[in-house]
Symmetry: C2
Subunit: 319 residues, 2 copies
């Protein structure tokens, strides 16, 4: 390994990295180094551009902390987060599609009872959510841990409040024996992703707007089932077709209605006229999702003219 | 733009980014998004691996500061820095080849006279460097700003000393009217790149050693000439063929000799027996380098079956 040129350096880096004993890590580095080098060769990346990239990534790291996930936001705005979710949680009808986790999920949300109020925001429009969770055969799935979070009536998440005392606009419920859960969220509004950091500057330079269409996040977790990270988007949002993090899918756009039945209002302890969101979530089992992932992985390797073996359920090229 | 799938999301991101008014930035984002997405699709990047990558890049940014350039070190250890240098400073004989800048260059080095002592290190072996700078036609190049830096006898750069009071082991000279310069450096020793950060952990996981072969860095700058960032490596270093940052090239390996002539010892004010490094650097002019870059850029675009136009001397695809 000497006398490296623009053409042979990639092969030389692969040789050095091939000492790695983990076949999966070896494969990941072979592919990332190839793509990184091809990117530089194809664009004739200038020293100034390289420096700007190094500086940009450094700034993205430095502004990040436990409550501000700028690196995830970068991944989101490049469409990578959405892609990784699709790869890891492949769906086929009738399974509910996933979408980006986003940078605002936290692990400190409190457990709440059905019917609980998600937000303390006095200016928000209350939104009763009545949802079911079923498996792909139509059977109710009970005891699913349902993590719900959303921004307030101004479009801000609690973690964006510098004086945040504790979680607000987020909570964790369990689906009941009939796979049902309900809560009082708020009608979501569009909001800009944070524009005061390096990712915001990037979007400005690209001529992109920062506004996400309003949505309520849901994460559904139960052993034996494939984790579902998704969100529901009320129809008609001005940014529905140009989400900066590529999170909207047709199947996740919902028509809100209104509680017009007094029996229903009584059952859920809300006033008549309260806005209503209903949705029937469908989870895949872990084996169903694993089989889909495996099929897709084999196809992806065949596209590269490579034979595949699996290492901890993840594909690596056969030697 | 809706109903994104693993297959169509890349095209959708391109559509959104095509709003960018700068054709060069548009091209860079088209290529980086394509490669990033292809990487995820080819490897079926798992959510855990994606999270590890996000966390890794965040840590690389967070440990970086004015004196510790971990993001550059990452680029170095992936072979990207060497590649970017080769792209931006293409050479053809007799021009001196470039190599990585590395993470230890600073901008606070003091101007020194010829013959000055680079290091205060009392344990080092003195190394007289007597060098010339010529152009590709063999004419001496005077008034070149020559930035020289190297580690100490233990392999540490001054910036790695937490009590650093000012620059040591670095200095800036000017070539004289005959294109000559000389200084008293030290015989360089191999040293490990910093292993206490995320890049060090990465190398460990890849089974790679961290030891760079000993070298002295040189950066040569003069208006009208292509910037030369290079280093010289005394022959026989145990890590000569496995440099973790891919910086060694045959033409940059030098045989050290000894000052055996008393006239020479007197001329350079060193003792007889002092170790001696001589080297004849050859700079390209800016037009020579620009022409080479342009030729290489056209070839790189042809490989992609794209016609090229130039925007601020950098290639972009013709519409």
């Amino acid at each position: 390994m000497k006398d490296l040129t623009t053409e042979n350096i990639t092969e030389n880096v692969h040789i050095v990295n091939s000492q790695c004993s983990d076949p999966r890590l070896r494969y990941l580095f072979e592919r990332i180094v190839t793509h990184l080098h091809d990117f530089a060769r194809e664009t004739r990346l200038s020293t100034e551009e390289w420096q700007a990239g190094v500086q940009f990534l450094t700034e993205v790291g430095q502004i990040s902390n436990d409550l501000r996930h700028e690196m995830i936001l970068l991944s989101d705005t490049l469409g990578l987060s959405m892609l990784v979710d699709s790869i890891n949680h492949p769906r086929m009808p009738p399974a509910t599609e996933g979408t980006v986790l986003g940078p605002f999920h936290t692990h400190d949300a409190e457990t709440m009872d059905h019917g609980a109020v998600l937000h303390s925001d006095p200016d928000a429009t209350s939104l009763l959510c009545v949802c079911s969770i079923k498996d792909s055969q139509g059977n109710p799935v009970s005891d699913v841990k349902v993590d719900v979070w959303e921004g307030d009536s101004k479009g801000f998440y609690d973690v964006q409040n510098p004086n945040r005392a504790g979680p607000d606009g987020r909570g964790v419920l369990q689906s009941d024996s009939e796979g049902m859960f309900f809560l009082r969220a708020i009608v979501p509004v569009p909001y800009p992703i944070p524009m005061d950091g390096p990712v915001g500057k990037m979007l400005s330079k690209l001529g992109r707007h920062p506004n996400r269409p309003g949505h309520v996040h849901f994460m559904m977790d139960k052993p034996g089932y494939d984790l579902l990270i998704t969100a529901l988007y009320p129809r008609g949002d001005p940014y529905e077709a140009s989400d900066p993090v590529f999170g909207v899918k047709d199947s996740l756009i919902v028509d809100l209605s209104t509680v017009e039945d007094s029996k229903m209002a009584a059952k859920y302890a809300v006033e008549l006229g309260t806005k209503l969101l209903t949705y029937d979530f469908v989870l895949l089992t872990e084996p169903e999702a694993r089989e889909l992932r495996k099929k897709n992985a084999i196809e992806a390797m065949e596209k590269q003219q490579r034979k595949v073996v699996f290492h901890n359920d993840l594909p690596v090229p056969a030697q």
